[in-house]
Structures are given as C-alpha cells and as structure tokens.
C-alpha cells in the first residue's frame, strides 16, 4: 500500500500522518505538494489536519482550489480511498467529497482534549475492522468542528449508515455534555455513499502508541490495510 499525504500551505499534521504510516504501520507513504498534479501512484490519500491557508476565511475554503485537489477528487471518483482528518475533513466538505460543513465550535473556543467516539458504521474502508458500537478514545484539536447539515441530509446519512463516528460519554451515550463542539446529532465523522471517503474531526494518527496514551486509532489503519489488500 502506498499512502499520499497532501501538504497544503498551513498543513501541520502532514508529518504526523507520514510518521504514522511509515513508522507505525511500516507502509510506504509520500508527501504530495499542493501545487503538483501528480499523486505519485498513491493508493490512498490523507488530507491532514492543520490550518490550510491560515483558515482566515472559511476553513478549507481555499485549499479545495489547490491544483492537487483536482487529482484527489478524480481519485475519489474512481473509488480510491480518501480520509480527511480535522482540517482535511473541512477540505473534503468544501471540495464536495462529503456533504455538510464544519462550523465554529459552539463554545467559540478551540478544543483540545481526548474524546470518546462510538463506531456507528463498519461499512467503510476505514472502519471495516472495527466493531459496531465499540468505543474509541482519541484526541481532538480544533476550533471549527461543529458538523452541520440540513435535516434531510442528516436523515439520509443516518439511513444510509454513513454516520461513522459519534461523540459519546464513557457509557457510550451521545449526550450534550459529551459533544465537544455542538456537532449536530453528535456527529464526529461521516462517509461518502460508497464508504471510500471518510471525514472526521478527531485525530486517529495521534492514537497509535501506548506511550501517547491510546492505540484506538490503529483500527482505522488496520481497516484500510485489509481493504486495500483485498
């Protein structure tokens, strides 16, 4: 498997994603420059976290116009796996790869903390090795994470099993207190219709080692490996 991690100006989790793939998973990975048009044969694309173009406008709104995004969208249309993490989720929504938008946290403050996620769907390339209902702990770190869409879209996402992760409390309940940003229906991550594109605000690449407090992010990458190799 070869993973391509896009570096936009202002990306700051691109090195972490590369480190995760190369050092933790021992797989091939390459950084892809935003001004290029070449995915260098990557089987999987990671849109990493950060503040692309400073996010002074709407988060991800400028990054979607980067030259490389034309190739990423084409890759996704071919059924190629894409995961957008944090700012990458915002970019994926702006690029039309996923429905909805990420608005300013309802606290109007940045939120950096571990959260508990419930796996809502295992029908995606990134969660097929997970157990439905399983609870995962991993960090969030964002100011614009309030997932928002119109009711019809939300209903359709629910009906089609495309809500992938929800913020829950330690008992697995999607309470208001467990929702760190005011996301509609406590949604932390969603998928496209085919389950090949996933966007999520939490950071699985920060939860791969016992030394750093959690290994719950591993299941996403294990899912990916089994899907790509299948």
């Amino acid at each position: 498997m070869k993973v391509g991690v896009i570096t936009f100006p202002g990306s700051n989790c691109d090195e972490d994603a590369l480190f995760a793939i190369v050092e933790q998973l021992q797989e091939d990975a390459v950084l892809l420059w935003h001004k290029d048009h070449d995915l260098q044969g990557a089987d999987v694309i990671i849109l990493p976290g950060g503040f692309s173009y400073g996010d002074y406008l709407r988060s991800g709104a400028i990054a979607r116009f980067s030259p490389i995004m034309q190739e990423v969208v084409a890759h996704a249309k071919r059924g190629g796996p894409v995961i957008g993490i944090c700012n990458g989720f915002q970019i994926a929504c702006e690029a039309g790869l996923l429905p909805g938008a990420l608005l300013r946290n309802n606290s109007l403050q940045f939120r950096s903390m571990p959260v508990t996620l419930r796996v809502e769907s295992t029908d995606t390339v990134f969660t097929n090795a997970a157990t439905k209902g399983a609870l995962l702990t991993m960090p969030i770190a964002h100011g614009d994470g309030r997932y928002t869409a119109d009711e019809d879209t939300l209903d359709r996402l629910e009906a089609e099993g495309r809500v992938v992760f929800r913020y829950v409390d330690s008992l697995g309940e999607p309470t208001a207190a467990a929702n760190p940003n005011g996301a509609m229906r406590n949604i932390a991550g969603i998928a496209n219709e085919s389950g090949t594109v996933v966007g999520m605000m939490p950071h699985p690449e920060r939860a791969l080692e016992p030394l750093l407090g959690s290994t719950d992010g591993l299941v996403l990458f294990q899912s990916l490996l089994s899907a790509v190799r299948a």
């Binding site: 173009y53 960090p139 770190a141």
Partner: protein, 769 residues
C-alpha cells in the same frame, strides 16, 4: 561618506531626544561617537538599540555573574536561543521571552506575537519547534479587566501555536493583585535539531548579500522596543498602535522556508527581525561577525508606499527574517522562498569597511562607525538598596496571625485553597491549546509536574517546565531566586528527567529605583547559586524591566524555563495517584514555615514573612533520590509540594484527573511539634509526594542519598475521599467536593468574561472617548 538629513526630517531638539527615550548623557555619547549631530533616522536607530529591551544596559553586569557553561551546552547566552546537546547527535534549542507591555494593552495580539517571536528565535538556530510553554501572571481574577486579559491572552497564545502546529504543553499561571494593570506574558519555545544543523546569527564573508525574507514591512509596531522599556501608564492605551499584529499562517510558511534554507547550505546566517526590527537584526549580526554592513531601505519589500527609512528601520512587522546568503546563491534563496509563496529581496551587503550604513537609494541617511552602535551603548550600575518596608514585611511574625473561625475545620481551608485561581485547575486554559500535535506528547498539561515529549527515533524524551513564585522573590529576592530554579528542577525530576539547563525571563520594575534594582541583583544572585548547585547553566533569556503600573512595580518575577532529559521515555511519571493500596511516601521534611504562602495570601490577605528556606544541597539530593527511584521502576506517581503545601499536593494527587479520581488516607502524627496550618498548608521546599508499591525500597534509596523519607499514608478508592490526621486535628473531604472546588473555580470565573468584554471593558470604554 556621511549621513545627511532627509528633506522633511524633524529638527533634532532636546525634546525630540527625550521623546526617543535617550538621556542627555546618552545623547552626548551619541554625538561624540558620530562627531556631529545625528540625523532623525540615526536618532531613531539609536533609540531602539539603546533601549533597555535591546541593550540590557542596566542588567548586563549582573547577568554576567550567572553560570553559563557545562559540557552539554553548545550555545550559551548571546544568540537567538541557547542550545544543549542531548546525545545521539541531537540538540535542543530553547528560549523564553516576555511580551508583557503589548499584552497589557492588546492581550490577543500581544500574546500571539509573543509566541511568534519566540518561535522565530528557536527556528533561526536551525531547530524545529516541538513545544511551547507559557508563564502568565495576572491581577485578581475578581476584576472584569483581568478576566478580559486572561481570555484575550489565552486565545492569542492558542490561535498562534495551534495554527503553527507546535503543541503548547506546559507552563504556569498565577494571579495576584501585584500584577494588576501589568500582566506578565512569558512564552518559551523548545526546538529539536541535529547538532550539525546548528546555525548562528553572525554576519560573515565580505560581499555576501543581506536578504530580507518573509512578510513585507509595514508601519506596525514602530518603537515597540522603546515601548517595552518604559513604565505602563494610563496613556499607554493610546500606544496600542505600537503593538504588532501576528499572522501565524505566514509564520508557518516562514518556518518551513527557513529550515529548508538553513539545510540548503546557501546561507551563512539568519536572524529574526524581532524587537527593533531591521535595525537590531542587522546591527547585531554585524557586531557578532565584526564586519560592516550597508543596507538600502528602498530595496526592502514594503506594504505601503511612502515609508521613510526611519519607519522601515524601526518597524516591528512580524514574520520577517534577515538572512546573510553566500554570494552568488541569491537565486537559490529566492527559489526556496518562492516555493513557500514568500518574498526575498537583497537589501544590502556585508562590507569590509568598518561601518554600519543605511542608504535610501544612493543617499546615506544613517552611518555609524564600526560596531560601536552596539558596543558604545552605556552600561549602568544602578544603586541597589532594600527598602525598609521590605525588611519589615519579611520579619513580620506571621504565626501571630489569628486563625479564622472557619479554619477549625481544615477541610474548609483546603477547599478554599483549591479554589484559589493560582492553585485551581487550569484545564479551562489548557483545553484551548493543541497539546498533542506532532504526536510526541507523553505527558501534557495538568497530568504531571512537567510536560514530557518523546524524541522520535530515540528512546529519549525531554521534560520541560516554567516556574517562579514572585511572592517569594518579593519577600526575599535571593531566596526567591534560588527557589525558582530549585522548583523547576524538582518538577522536571518528578517526571523522571535529569535537569539540564535553564533559560530565564527576568520581569522586574524600574531599575532606576534602588529597591527594584536590589530585587533584580539579589534574585539573579540567587538563581546563580541554584544553577551552580543543580548543574543547570543559563543558556540565555530575556530581561523585561519597567513592569510597573501606577501603584508600583509588579512582584519581581524571574521566570525559569527548565529543560531536562529522560534517557528512557517509558520512565515518564505523572502526578496522580493510580492504584489503591499504594503507599504514599513523603520525601523531604516538613517545617513550621508559613511566610509567603498562598494560604496567608488567599485566606488572610497577608503577603509577609520570610519565604521558605531553600537548601540547595538538599534539593540536589532529593532530585537524585526521585530520579533513582523512578528509573528503578519503584514510583507510580510523583508530585512536588508547592503553592498550598502538603495538603494541596495530596488533594491534587487525588483529583487532578477528574475523570479518574482516587482517595488517600494520611497520618501526619509524626510531626507533633509543628502547627497544624504550617504542616498542612506551609510551603516548605524540598518535598515530593510519591506513591509506590515498594515503599521500603524508596525509603532505603532516600536514606542512601541522605534525604528524609517516611510513609505517610495509603492511596484509596475515591469513595473514601481524602482523610488527613495530624496530632491536633482531622481533615476529611469527599473527592466530589474537592473536584468541585479545584475544577470549577476558573471556569466559573471565566464564564462571566464573555459578556463583560462587550459591556464593561475599560479599554473599550476608553477607546470610545
């Protein structure tokens, strides 16, 4: 050639000289150096370079007494940042700097640009920033203005660091009326590099081009360095335009471009254009290299037309670098910058002629002989004398202060102390900082006495912490200076790291006041004592004087930023109790000391008495004991006793993580001679609370090192709460009540801030006039 005035330059008058902050004596020195009247541009340049902020003119002789060397020190004071080796061919660059005055008038931008500046200081050494820390001091959280400042400073720090992708992992925040009107915002950055990537800011090579890199130069922040070198007053609200505006996105590009430049081999030196902008960066680089430079201001990329040389030289526009490239490599430098969508323009040259020359096109507008612009700055040896009030304050018998009736229940006192903003949980702040980016944070804010970051590709980790109790320094500067270093070292040891070196940020009042200079001199001497005893040399830092408000000087606050090294990241040790049944061991000795305590200040409103004594030899032995016990795997948790004393330390071990509280049952009957309040809330130094399954081994290790040690209790489940018995009294508190006190105090106070910012902020009201 000689500089001549530009058309439209103001005439140099005594009033104009005074406005530029130069004394008549300093002006005479300038005239003597030039052999003529300076031009307006030259006056501006000198006013910036001879400001306290840039010149250290009152502090340098005292600073020279600090120890700066050790085998592991690769770069001591005098560069953009200090550098130490951590083995494996790796080095750590680190520095702390203040942004107090800007933050006092514009907290968001003031704090944000403080973070930006210190980041640049570290990455210009060739290091990639891997951690940020902040040491903050505010007035009473009871006032709307302070809540406004807290909210703005925290957001400014968060927005800048978060965007940069550098985790903000540690620091400390204290509140005291002494900082009313003049908050302290000290930011520290830690960077990692290969030893061979170290680069210095020394201009070299005659004919090499000088290149301005990064953001364009605008009219913001002109005279920021001079602003930082005067007392704050009501009029300072009008100086808000002197505060710079930060752009972390550009900084992120500049970071990547600078590291790429340094590794490319196309440049010989690089320096941040920070305080006093182009002026100080170019003059200091020339001075370090003992070469001449010439700069043409018409070549500098600017944001707006019509900027004068004076403005271009003194602008403190952010996110700019000055680079000396190798001759003939200009094109490669520009190519790297353009990859990151940044500007690079050749603006000058390193020359053999011993002169610092600024031209506007072909016309010379400023010219100074040799490097005398830097070296001729006068140095002062101000009078130092402790005030009678200070002596009276220290010698007051604080044991004579009567207990309040409520204190008969020590649980009441403990809960009150846990609510004190200085002690209470800072989670409200920490959750606004990304502390996990770069996937290396082993122990982040609030989990341990210091933050721990693993070093990728090695087994090693770094421990970092800032510390300073300004109240102790206020009461006894020498002892307070020692404690600041000792506490930082102790904190770093509690997570399992060997303390290695410090950077310091010396926040003091007006040095021309004898009692202030006494504080400064004695505190620096105290720091020096501790640095020698603990083998943690000073590798650099920053002096911030004139921290005064209309009521007087702030507490003298020499903030210490400590870096330690763990040979094995797996040794990283947190502060919270984890396992019921573990023994609780106190390393170090209790005392009857009560002076300078948070207990006296918060419960009784008294700032008096001698601060706790500091036995540096004992601290060294304590640190060695803690490290030996941790490395042999006997320590489950370790937490030092600081503000609030032993009772607060024990409570924190129980409830620091509100999601996983524990209880503890403790017997302090072994100290019948001590007063209950000193035993519970006194702040005797040199004490660490550890939890362990191998108490006998830990105590034996302590004995070997000559450190007092005793089992004082047992870790229990949360349901049992915290129970402490002394010879005289019993303290019992449920973990729920302790959690409520400790974790809700700051969120509750800050919940009031949002509405106030709009309706009652005095700054906004002032701005509307």
């Amino acid at each position: 050639m000689s500089a001549t005035p530009r058309p439209g330059d103001p005439v140099i008058t005594p009033a104009l000289v005074a406005e530029h902050g130069l004394t008549p004596f300093e002006y005479e020195k300038l005239v003597a150096m030039l052999g003529r009247t300076p031009t307006f541009t030259e006056l501006g340049v000198v006013s910036a370079l001879w400001s306290e902020h840039c010149s250290y003119k009152h502090s340098r002789p005292v600073l020279k007494t600090l120890p700066t060397q050790a085998p592991w020190v690769l770069q001591g004071p005098g560069e953009n940042a200090g550098v130490i080796s951590i083995g494996d061919g790796l080095a750590v660059a680190f520095k702390i700097e203040s942004h107090n005055h800007p933050s006092a008038v514009e907290p968001y931008q003031g704090a944000a640009t403080g973070v930006g500046g210190i980041l640049r200081d570290v990455f210009t050494m060739g290091a990639r920033p891997i951690a940020m820390l902040n040491s903050l001091r505010f007035g009473s959280l009871e006032t709307p203005r302070v809540r406004f400042l807290v909210a703005g400073v925290v957001k400014g720090i968060g927005d800048y660091g978060n965007c940069m992708g550098v985790p903000t992992v540690a620091g400390e925040v204290m509140f005291d009326a002494a900082y009313e009107g003049n908050p302290l915002v000290n930011a520290m950055c830690v960077g990692l590099m290969k030893e061979e990537e170290l680069i210095r800011a020394k201009a070299e090579g005659i004919g090499n081009p000088i290149i301005a890199v990064g953001a364009r130069t605008g009219r913001d922040g002109i005279h920021g360095a001079s602003f930082a070198s005067e007392d704050l007053s009501e009029e300072n609200e009008a100086k808000r335009p002197r505060v710079q505006v930060g752009d972390p996105f550009t900084e992120k590009l500049l970071l990547e471009a600078s590291l790429e430049l340094i590794r490319s081999g196309h440049i010989v030196a690089i320096q941040d254009m920070g305080a006093a902008g182009l002026t100080s960066s170019s003059a200091e680089m020339a001075e370090r290299g003992d070469v001449g430079v010439t700069i043409d201001t018409t070549k500098v990329p600017v944001r707006e037309a019509g900027m004068t040389p004076y403005e271009i030289l003194l602008s403190e526009s952010q996110e700019r670098m000055l680079v000396v490239a190798k001759k003939g490599h200009e094109h490669e430098v520009k190519k790297i910058l353009s990859k990151w969508d940044l500007v690079a323009e050749v603006i000058g040259e390193v020359i053999a002629e011993p002169v610092y020359r600024v031209t506007e096109g072909s016309k010379v507008v400023a010219e100074f002989p040799g490097t005398r612009l830097v070296t001729d700055c006068p140095q002062y040896h101000p009078e130092a004398k402790e005030s009678d009030e200070a002596v009276a304050r220290r010698t007051r018998d604080v044991h004579a202060i009567a207990e309040l009736p409520s204190e008969r229940d020590p649980a009441w006192t403990l809960e009150r102390l846990l609510q004190a903003p200085t002690i209470a949980s800072k989670h409200w702040i920490h959750r606004q900082y990304d502390s996990t980016v770069r996937t290396s944070t082993v122990l982040g804010p609030g989990h341990a006495d210091a933050a721990v970051l693993r070093v990728r590709g090695t087994k090693k980790a770094l421990a970092v912490k800032t510390d300073c109790n300004g109240r102790y320094v206020f009461l006894d500067p020498r002892v307070g200076g020692r404690i600041a270093v000792a506490e930082a070292a102790r904190n770093v040891a509690c997570v399992g790291a060997t303390p290695r070196a410090i950077t310091n940020c010396l926040n003091f009042g007006n040095p021309k006041k004898p009692e202030v200079f006494f504080q400064f001199r004695e505190a620096v001497y105290g720091m020096g004592d501790a640095c020698r005893a603990l083998e943690t040399p000073v590798t650099g830092g920053n002096v911030s004087l004139y921290n005064e408000n209309p009521q007087g000087a702030v507490y003298p606050t020499p903030t210490i930023g400590m870096v330690g090294v763990l040979e094995d990241a797996a040794h990283a040790t947190g502060l919270r109790f984890e396992q019921a049944g573990d023994a609780i061991v106190l390393l170090g000795e209790n005392s009857d000391e009560l002076g300078g305590s948070e207990y006296l200040a918060w419960i009784h409103g008294v700032v008096a008495g001698a601060p706790p004594s500091c036995d540096l030899d004992g601290e060294k032995r304590l640190i060695d004991t803690v490290l030996a016990a941790i490395r042999r795997g006997h320590v489950r948790s370790a937490h030092d006793c600081s503000e609030g004393g032993l009772a607060v330390a024990l409570a924190e071990c129980c409830i620091a993580d509100r999601a996983a509280p524990m209880g503890a049952t403790v017997d302090l009957g072994a100290w019948p001679a001590l007063t209950t309040r000193a035993l519970l809330f006194g702040e005797a130094q040199g004490r660490v609370v550890v939890s362990t399954a191998n108490a006998d081994t830990v105590i034996a290790l302590a004995k070997q090192h000559g450190v007092p040690a005793r089992v004082i209790g047992t870790v229990t489940d949360a349901a049992s709460g915290l129970r402490i018995t002394t010879g005289a009294t019993k303290l019992a508190a449920s973990t729920d009540r302790l959690i409520e006190a400790y974790h809700e105090a700051i969120p509750r106070a800050m919940a009031r801030a949002a509405a106030e910012a709009v309706t009652r902020d005095p700054a906004l009201a002032g701005g509307a006039k």
